[in-house]
Amino acid sequence: MSAYGTTRQPGGGATPKDKTTDYHTALFRRLAWEGTVPVEIRVDPKELPANSDRGLECYYIQAPRVSYLPLLLPEIRRFLMDVVFDEAAASSLKEEDWWFETEEGTITKWHWPLGLIYDNHAISLTVRSSAPPSTAMAPPLRLILHLASPPTEKLMLSPSQEACKQAFMGQLKEADFIRWGSTKRVTGLRKLEQDGIWEGIREHNFDDYWRVASKVTPSASQPVPPPLAGASGHVRPPSTDAPSTFDRDGAYSVRCIPVRVYLPDGPILQEFVPPLLEDGTPNTLYHFLSTHLPLLFPPRPPAPPPSRAKPNPQPPAVPNLAFVMIQGVVSPPEAEMAWLGVCMAGADGWLSICVGINRT
């Protein structure tokens, strides 16, 4: 496990606290990686070639959140060719013209990870009048597969795996740039490693992916406590500290965390997300959202001063207008942005925050 926790200790064993940190980091990364979403794929009935077996036109996949639609195409095509289409139809179909859209008519993009497509769809349902009752089971994402006339303007990419890989690498570099102001960590990878990280996604292999990803993803080590006032006049370099908590490559040392906020049917927001606030405390989900989306996440007013009648006052409650979904899980407001950025981010390095509206 500790191969994927990335604390770097100069010799000596890791302290028990660091081993716990490693374990949690690896645990959440593994959970995020293994997350899957149910997808139902149905060919547009109007486009089904003649002589197709209509009883079988739905295909179900429990797909990994970190995967992409172009990677699912071979499997879907195999099913359709073997089971649904007849020979004549199969030979005339051009896979590069295939494209997907949701039941509501949203075109699904090739370069969005499946987990994001699913969560984005889930939050868009929260603003539609026909809100389904919340059930314990996650409903499948129903996609309609079209076989012709792809809306290339909106799709922006071809459905090829190569285009998808390029888009993925681009996102990885952009995330690297956001974190550190340069892409040298990603571009510094050998070609074999760059190909390897994509293979890890293609083959859905956690170890292969993280073998390379651990070189570009910051470690989740805890932030440095603010320096003591009145300490000796110069700053001691990190290497002279005993098993130190300072990690130059840690999640709390980045200049900005790569985050995108998705609103239901709405714009995609990208704001400056520092790991630490001006007072040195970690930036939390609550602070970030109440700063940038104050109408949905009103900041909590401070607690009234203690009085005799109420010696331990709580701040007044604020309405719970919206919720936050990360990797399909509703996230607590006190989650730290830096930690989320290295443990709950997507495979492309980006933390996707989907905001849904609470319906009461």
Partner: protein
Amino acid sequence: VVVRFKAVGNAPIMKQNFYKITSSNRFQAVIQFLRKELGWQAGEPLFTYINLSFSPAPDDTVANLFKACGTDGHLIVNYSTTQAWG
């Protein structure tokens, strides 16, 4: 947002390099705009990068890219005929 186009390698330099682009535009629109300004067809290879670093997703908005990577009040978009930082 002011976009500054910088040619890389053998790519032709434009007469005018600074353009004002509406921030809500997707990067896709910037690529199309560049093609039009250069007079290139859709089939001809054109690669675009931000700050000589990475190629953004076509649906990233100009606003978001500028917020994250803008320098000196503008967004630097490099363009070339060959893949440089792919």
